[in-house]
């Protein structure tokens, strides 16, 4: 069962204009690789030069912050929802 990935409007341009896409993978790393295959450049927007989740991007698997549960190695259960959220907001 595919995983639903919800993205902020600020990443819409990286995935062809969508803010909700389906992807496959057992871990977040797999998931992002799958998205990157279909939308080249996606990983570079979300991951830094060392391949880690950018410091200003939060990724949630369900309600769990991936940064506290293994980062990119976080398991992604079938049918779950992943959210990619900017850690900061523009304007105050």
């Amino acid at each position: 069962m595919p995983v639903t990935v919800r993205l902020p409007g600020t990443l819409r341009d990286a995935v062809g204009g969508e803010t909700k896409i389906q992807a496959a993978g057992k871990t977040l790393a797999d998931l992002f690789a799958d998205i990157d295959r279909r939308h080249p450049g996606f990983r570079a927007r979300v991951l830094d030069d060392r391949g880690a989740i950018r410091s200003y991007v939060n990724v949630y698997v369900g309600d769990v912050d991936a940064r506290s549960s293994g980062g990119l190695d976080t398991a992604v259960p079938d049918g779950s929802e992943v959210m990619v959220i900017p850690a900061m907001a523009g304007g105050r």
């Binding site: 919800r6 993205l7 902020p8 409007g9 600020t10 990443l11 341009d13 803010t19 927007r45 979300v46 830094d48 950018r54 410091s55 200003y56 991007v57 939060n58 949630y60 940064r67 959210m83 959220i85 900017p86 850690a87 900061m88 907001a89 523009g90 304007g91 105050r92």
Partner: protein, 277 residues
């Protein structure tokens, strides 16, 4: 205050204006107070609730000003964004309505617009309120002039609502100061409070022509400079302060004079984020 180490070897002197010393801890105290006082003059606030969309610092400023002036405040703030600012605003008595974190500050704006249809609210709308830039035209600009003894040649600040840049421009451009407006280089960024104007809801008060130069800064460079400010100058700044100084260094490398960067808040507001790890 002068940045002697980070500014060493540049053509211009490099100074920082530290807005974390305002009572509510950020530059937004100025616009917050001005908007509350302006609302008192314009409308009957009896039994009504001041409303705005904010990712934090304006919310704190409004909550503080409203607490002192005796008004109720409701704030629309994106969920899962730095919890410190939500808690501080709540401590001053504000009611916080959380909005879709995926929609960011623009989502908070849209929610506030919906709520504002109810007449019990007085929507301050920091993105469109003329009292926002006016606060900077009447306070920040004149302070910059006085505190530098009239020597300031360039003013560098990030653009969020744009109130700071627009207001300071109004005060200091007629005195020959060049205004430099800075934005994040990408729509997905980590410079709290700044807007990537090309992809964001455009603030009504924003006027590109108020700036002589427009520059962009990468989040990584902003954070790296915030860390340098702490370790080399003893200034604990938020990421936007680092971004402003990073841009100001570039300006001071190219031009002679006295370049002042505005540091909007302090780093303690971001301790729950991974930026300092």
């Amino acid at each position: 205050m002068p940045l002697r180490r980070i500014g060493a070897g540049l053509r211009a002197e490099l100074w920082a204006k530290l807005e974390s010393f305002n009572p509510g801890g950020s530059v937004k105290d100025r616009a917050g107070l001005w908007m509350v006082l302006d609302a008192e003059q314009r409308v009957d606030l009896d039994g009504r609730i001041l409303l705005d969309a904010t990712s934090g610092n304006t919310g704190i400023a409004l909550a503080l000003a409203a607490a002192v002036r005796g008004h109720a405040v409701e704030l629309c703030m994106p969920d899962k964004i730095a919890a410190e600012r939500r808690r501080i605003a709540a401590a001053f008595g504000a009611t916080v309505t959380v909005t879709d974190p995926l929609a960011g500050s623009d989502g908070a704006i849209l929610r506030a617009r919906e709520l504002a249809r109810d007449p019990k609210y007085v929507y301050l709308d920091q993105y469109a309120n003329p009292a926002n830039p006016l606060a900077h035209a009447e306070t920040t600009g004149p302070e910059l002039w006085e505190q530098t003894g009239g020597r300031i040649s360039h003013f560098v600040a990030g653009v969020g609502t744009s109130g700071t840049v627009v207001g300071v421009s109004r005060a200091l451009r007629p005195r020959g100061v060049r205004i430099v407006a800075v934005q994040p280089d990408d729509a997905l960024h980590g410079i709290e409070g700044w807007k990537h104007m090309a992809t964001a809801i455009r603030p009504v008060i924003w006027d590109e022509t108020c700036a002589d130069e427009h520059r962009t800064v990468r989040t990584e460079d902003a954070v790296a400079m915030a860390k340098r400010l702490a370790r080399e100058e003893g200034i604990f700044s938020g990421p936007s302060g680092g971004g402003a100084v990073a841009a100001a260094v570039a300006v001071a490398r190219e031009h002679a004079g006295l370049v002042v960067a505005l540091l909007a808040d302090g780093g303690e507001r971001y301790l729950s984020t991974p930026l300092w790890e």
